[in-house]
Amino acid sequence: MKNVAGLILNVDGEDDSLKDFLSHRSLSTLPFGGRYRLIDFTLSNMVNSGLSHIGVIGSHKYSSLVDHLGTGKEWSLSRKTQDLSILSGSNNYHIGRLIKVNLRNLQNNRGFLDATGAKHVLIATPNLVTTFDFRNAYDIHLKNDSDITLIFKKDDPLYHLKDNDLYLEFAKNRVSGLHFKREHTTGHFFTEMFFIKKSILMELLDLSERTGDWDLLDMIKYNIDTLRVFGAQHTGYIKRVNCLENYMKTSMDLLEYEIMQELFLGKNSIHTKIKDNHPTLYEDPAQVSNSIVGSGCIIEGNITHSIIFRDTKMNVGSHIQNSIIMQRCDIGRNVNLNYVVMDKDTKISDHTTLVGKPHAPIVLKKGTVI
């Protein structure tokens, strides 16, 4: 994969339901799964597939991204060979219209594309929960001499796709159409990961500059007959986190051992920034079942079917079910939580009860004290 540069996009603002989590960070650094940030999956998948030149486009809320990625050492990316570049994105969003692959972001970063000797670019969004080895898809990309190879997945109602998700249409093995769900559905949806020849990407960039249309997928749609666009299938687990409901459902998926196994116990692991905490202490009378727990916690209460991030303290007599508790929360005595998502540094005092709904959990913003 020496001939492929990776590019991870910045995809904020798709849905308002996550806005409470995104005031200080971008979607790419949303905490997930007890110790990860969303971007860890896409970035680790790229690294584990052998990419060693990766650009990550950040938003204007870049502090958490910069802090999380550092120089990429935890992902085995080297500072010496400039394996990881954190790129400044564009702030020019079109109000009321979502651009999935905004070429303005790439426009700002032509330098990154110019500098890489790679002939192909692998572009992906940072909010995909999956483990995927890109090497097979790349072989397909090369074998077909594709301009663009879109990675797709067979549809299933469990994916809860949204109106602006894209479906692929095939004709004679080639991709012949791209349709929004609201327009037309087929059996296969686009995973928001694709290979593109660098030369084609540069051409489309130039075209965008002339036409003022900055949506790469639009450009592909317009030129679907002249471009060689192929598909490569994804057969494993994949979920896209783009709203609170999806975030909750995808998180709870991890509590199914088979999904947990596929994501975390395979040959390739998902890397993340290392936080150094003491092991979690379960003190009597703690009772914990079917949960994921980070390190550095001190737990004295009961936890069922929940995800607890690092450094959480939970006192005697409290019960947590079906909830997500991010790092450094402090939960008092005799607290009851059901369907609650707590952002980090949140504190709940004794005898508090919060009960949300499966489809609409209660959200506590970072630093809330109740």
Binding site: G34, M260, I270, I274, P279, L281, Y282, D284, I292
Partner: protein, 374 residues
């Protein structure tokens, strides 16, 4: 970078009394408290004491230890030009020698210390569990204008005969040494932590190296020699948690202290953190039927069974219908369906079959600790 005081950490020992725990691994690299290795404690102490240069002297099976120490960044000891330096025995023009005693190990690395030309040298060993701010000991050393300061702590009188005992005057000046005395005159025991004024250390080591009758040991040879020659030797009084983990029993007991709320050794104290060198692992997964009580559990564990009063290191898998009580499990071990373990230490990557039964006789006051390896 602070080079006023350079630390030299003696990490060469085999730790043969730890049995199979040190079969493939030097004692300072033995796991402790789940995720830590013994050497984390002196290295974290250095970090918390603003000591920026640490030489680590190794010679027994150092691969895991060297790999673990890496570039020192895990303890923030990776300053440009400073940080941790691993110092194995080496060959010179006239051939090479293994380190033959604590003082000899430092003597062979005088060149290293000389590069930093510090004013003081702190000598540590890699086999004790404790937290200590060495900068306070250094301030004491400077205040006393000492040539050598030895950290001491009060031990129970009945144990004093197992230690090097010092007798001091009211100013903490050491007047007498007793090495493992039958009749101790005090209960102040040396903790094996020394601060030397560099020029005195250099002189002492050169003198000691020239003495053919010396075993080149600080406790037996160098310090008595300095005492005889009238150097200013002081005892720095330390109080707090300190454990030697040189035997299986003491290693097991010190681990179990971490599960005791009343114990004053707190790993969760943010003001004096013990760091370790970890790679990223998934968080612990606790299955639907798991039961966990009073235990310390690390990242990467997968638990479907019953875990009571136990310490699980990274990546341990506990299958269903198992029961662990008073057990220490090292990294990557797998406990299969149905196994019952009590009072055990399970070695790294061991696989315990489902028919395993290690059950202690409850009538016995101090059950034997089984060390299980594959």
């Amino acid at each position: 970078m602070n080079t006023e005081c350079v630390a030299m950490l003696l990490a060469g020992g085999q730790g043969s009394r730890l049995g199979s725990l040190t079969f493939n691994n030097a004692k300072p690299a033995v796991l402790f408290g789940g995720k830590y290795r013994i050497i984390d404690f002196p290295l974290s102490n250095c970090m918390n004491s603003d000591i920026d240069v640490v030489g680590v002297l190794t010679q027994y099976r150092p691969y895991i230890l060297n790999n673990y120490i890496g570039d020192g960044s895990a303890w923030a000891l990776d300053q440009v030009q400073g940080g941790v330096h691993i110092l194995p025995p080496y060959m010179g023009q006239k051939g090479g020698r293994w380190y033959s005693g604590t003082a000899d190990a430092i003597y062979q690395n005088l060149d290293f210390i000389h590069r930093f030309d510090p004013e003081y040298v702190l000598i540590l060993s890699g086999d004790h569990i404790y937290k200590m701010d060495y900068s306070k000991m250094l301030a004491f050393h400077k205040q006393k204008e000492a040539d050598l300061t030895i950290a001491v702590m009060d031990v129970p009188w009945e144990d004093a005969h197992r230690f090097g005992i010092v007798n001091t005057d009211e100013d903490h000046c050491i007047k007498e040494f007793q090495e493992k005395p039958e009749r101790p005159k005090s209960n102040k025991a040396s903790m094996g932590i020394y601060i030397f004024t560099w020029k005195e250390l250099k002189k002492a080591l050169l003198d000691d190296a020239g003495n053919r009758e010396s075993e080149h040991d600080f406790g037996h040879n160098v310090i008595p020699m300095l005492h005889e020659s009238g150097k200013r030797i002081f005892a720095y009084p330390y109080s707090g948690y300190w454990r030697d983990v040189g035997t299986v029993q003491s290693y097991y007991d010190a681990n179990m202290d971490l599960l005791d709320c009343d114990c004053d050794f707190d790993l969760s104290d943010r003001n004096f953190r013990i760091f370790s060198n970890n790679t990223s692992r998934h968080p612990q997964f606790i299955g639907p039927q798991a039961k966990i009580s009073n235990s310390l559990i690390c990242d990467g564990c997968i638990i479907f069974g019953k875990v009571e009063n136990s310490i699980l290191s990274h990546d341990v898998v506990i299958h269903k219908k198992t029961s662990l009580k008073n057990v220490i499990v090292h990294t990557g071990a797998i406990i299969e369906d149905g196994a019952i373990l009590e009072n055990c230490i399970v070695g790294a990557r061991a696989r315990i079959k489902g028919d395993a039964r290690y059950i202690s006789d409850p009538t016995e006051p101090a059950p034997e600790i089984h060390v299980i390896n594959n």
